[in-house]
Amino acid sequence: MTDIPQTPPKQSWTYSNDVNAEIRRAAATGIYDIRGGGSKRRLPHFDDLLFLGASISRYPLEGYREKCATDVWLGTRFAKNPIHLETPITIAGMSFGALSGPAKEALGRGASAAGTSTTTGDGGMTEEERGHSKTLVYQYLPSRYGMNPDDLRRADAIEVVVGQGAKPGGGGMLLGQKISDRVANMRNLPKGIDQRSACRHPDWTGPDDLEIKILELREITNWEKPIYIKIGGARPYYDTALAVKAGADVVVLDGMQGGTAATQDVFIENVGMPTLACIPQAVKALQDLGMHRKVQLIVSGGIRTGADVAKAMALGADAVAIGTAALVALGDNDPIHEAEYRKLGTTAGAYDDWHEGKDPAGITTQDPALFNRFDPILGGRRLKNYLKVMTLEAQTIARACGKSHLHNLEPEDLCALTVEAAAMAGVPLAGTDWVPGRTGRY
C-alpha cells in the first residue's frame, strides 16, 4: 500500500514559537519581560557596509610604517579644558548599581591604560571609578541620584543625558534585588525597593530651558568642563540641531543597539532607530549648522570591532562609545560560566537578566559573593587589550583607505551591501552609483 503524501506541520511566521512562548509567559506572570542589553533584532548595521580600499585612483599608507593618528579632542567649542584622548573609542555611561564597584574600577583601569575616557551612570560617582579613571565623564541624569557640585567639579566632562538608544523616551529602572545598602545610600532611597528614574529632567523641559541649565552647569564649574548632551536615536537630525542650539560641546548619539541595565523588552525592540540610520542625519544637522567637527559627535550602539569604529567615523562621527562590548571584554556572557547560566535558564551569549543581580561573571551584580569573583585588575587589562585591538583594526582600515588619521575617513570610502544600508548610510550600493533616496550621482 502506498503512503499518501502528507502536508508537513507548518509553523506560523506570525505566531512563531518565540512569539507563542512570550504570550504564554505573559499570561502566566502578568508582567512584561524586563531585560538588559540592546535590541537583539537583525538590524541594518555596520556589517552591511564595506570599505573600498585604495588602488590606482587612491593610494594606501604602509601598514605599521606610515603614521595613522587616532587621537581626538572633545569639547573644543566652549570648554576651557577640552579633553584629549589617544583613541576615539570611549566607554559609555553605565551606573554603579547596574554594575558592581569592581566592574566600575575595571572600566576605569582599562580605559585609562588605553588612553580614553569612562563615564559614570545613574547613581552617582564612585571612588572606584574616579580613582581609576584618568578621564571621567559625569552623567547628569533626570533622577539626579548622587548628584552634587563637588563631583561635578571632580569630573573631566559633564554629560547631560536626555535619552539612550535602548529606550528613547524612557526612564531608568533598577529593581529592588540590586539595591544594596551602598546603592540605597547613594540614591537616598530605602533598601530593596524598585528605583525608577524619571524620563524627563525635573527642572527643564525643552531646548530653551536646557540652554539655561547648561549655563548653570558651566557657571558652577567655571566654564572648564566640556558639556556633552546624550540623545537616544529617535529624531537625530532635530535632536542634534537642538543640542547644538542649547550649547552642547559634544553630542552623544546612541542607536537602538545600545544597551540598558534593564527595561521592557517591548521598549528595547520597538522604539528607536538603528545606529546606522542615525549617524548621517546627525552629521547632516551638524553640517547644516556649520558645526561639524566643531561640536564633536560620539556614536554608540553596537560598536564591536575596529571596523565598526572606522565605519562610524567614515560616516562623520568624531568618536564612538562602547558599553555592551566593554562588558563582554570584562567577562560578561563568557562560556566559562555556562553551567551557571544554565541554572539561570539561559546560556552564554544570551544572558540578559542583568537586573536580577545574579550575574555569574560578577559584573552586573551587587552581591558580594558574586562581585568578589571578578578581578578588576585582570578585567582592566582585558579591556585595555580590547581597546588597543579595536584601535589597531581601525588604523589598519584607515591606512588601506590612504588616511593618515582616523578622522580623515569619509563616506566616499564606503559602499553598502544592501539597499537598506545604502539608503540609511547614504552611501552607494556596492557596484553601483545608486544611493536610494537620492537622485543623480552621489
Partner: protein, 229 residues
C-alpha cells in the same frame, strides 16, 4: 558689606568672585544689585556667606548651594535652589516651577507662592512655603520635609517615597500612592521647628496642619497596580 552690580560687572565675574571665597573669608556679607531676572545667579556657592539679591531672579538662582544663605528680595524664576546641598535660601516673593528640585539638604523658604512641581524629586531638603504650591509638587520626592501654609494643587506627592509633607490648607488631589497620615507628637515637634526656621511660626501652628506621606504600595512593581502608574 560687599556690593556687586550684576548688570555692570556680569554673571561670570559674580560667580567667579563668590566661588573664590573660602570658609575663613572676612567678606561674609554680599549684596547683588540690578539682577534684572538674570539666570544662574549665585550658583554653586560653597562658603558660609550671606548674599542678598536686590530684585527678582531668573532660572536656577542659588542652584547647588552649599553653606551660604541667599536672600532674594523679589521673586525667583524656575529651579531656584535646585539640588541644594546645605545652607538657606529665602525668597520674599513667589517662586516659579521646580523650586527646590532634587534638593539634598538645607532650607528653602518661599514667603509667597510656589508654582508647579515644587520639591520635585527632593532628596533631603526642607521647604517651607508661606503661600500655596502648584500641581505635581513633591513628585517622586524621596526624603526631606515640605511645609505648606496655604493650599496644594493637583496630584500632590505623586509616586512619593519617604518625604514628609505637611499642608495647612486644602489639597486639590493626592497623587498616586500619596495618602494622609496620622500626625503624631514627633511630627508636631518637627513641624514646630520647621515653622520657626522657615520664619512662619507667627503665621501658623503645627496643630493646624495635616500630614501626607507614601502608602508604599508602589515600592515594588505589582501588575495589579498597573493603573496607578
Amino acid at each position: 558689606m560687599q556690593s556687586f552690580d550684576l548688570t555692570a560687572q556680569g554673571l561670570r565675574a559674580l560667580n567667579s568672585t563668590l566661588h573664590g571665597l573660602k570658609e575663613q573669608t572676612n567678606e561674609t556679607v554680599w549684596e547683588i544689585v540690578n539682577p534684572k531676572g538674570a539666570h544662574a545667579i549665585a550658583v554653586g556657592l560653597d562658603a558660609p556667606i550671606d548674599v542678598t539679591v536686590r530684585g527678582s531672579t531668573g532660572y536656577y538662582c542659588a542652584g547647588m548651594n552649599k553653606q551660604a544663605t541667599v536672600r532674594i528680595k523679589g521673586s525667583a524664576g524656575p529651579g531656584v535652589a535646585e539640588n541644594m546641598m546645605s545652607g538657606t535660601v529665602i525668597i520674599d516673593g513667589d517662586a516659579s516651577q521646580y523650586a527646590g528640585a532634587t534638593g539634598r539638604g538645607g532650607l528653602l523658604v518661599v514667603k509667597g507662592n510656589a508654582a508647579s512641581r515644587c520639591g520635585i524629586s527632593m532628596k533631603g531638603i526642607d521647604i517651607v512655603v508661606h503661600g500655596n504650591i502648584g500641581h505635581m509638587s513633591c513628585f517622586m520626592a524621596q526624603s526631606g520635609n515640605m511645609v505648606v501654609l496655604g493650599d496644594a494643587g493637583d496630584a500632590l506627592g505623586d509616586s512619593l517615597y519617604e518625604a514628609r509633607l505637611f499642608v495647612r490648607g486644602s489639597v486639590k488631589s493626592l497623587g498616586a500612592d500619596c495618602i494622609e497620615k496620622e500626625m503624631r507628637p514627633e511630627h508636631l515637634e518637627l513641624l514646630a521647628d520647621l515653622l520657626k526656621r522657615g520664619e512662619a511660626d507667627h503665621l501658623a501652628k503645627p496643630e493646624e496642619f495635616k500630614r501626607y506621606g507614601s502608602a508604599r504600595k508602589l515600592y515594588n512593581f505589582n501588575v495589579d497596580n498597573a493603573s496607578a502608574y
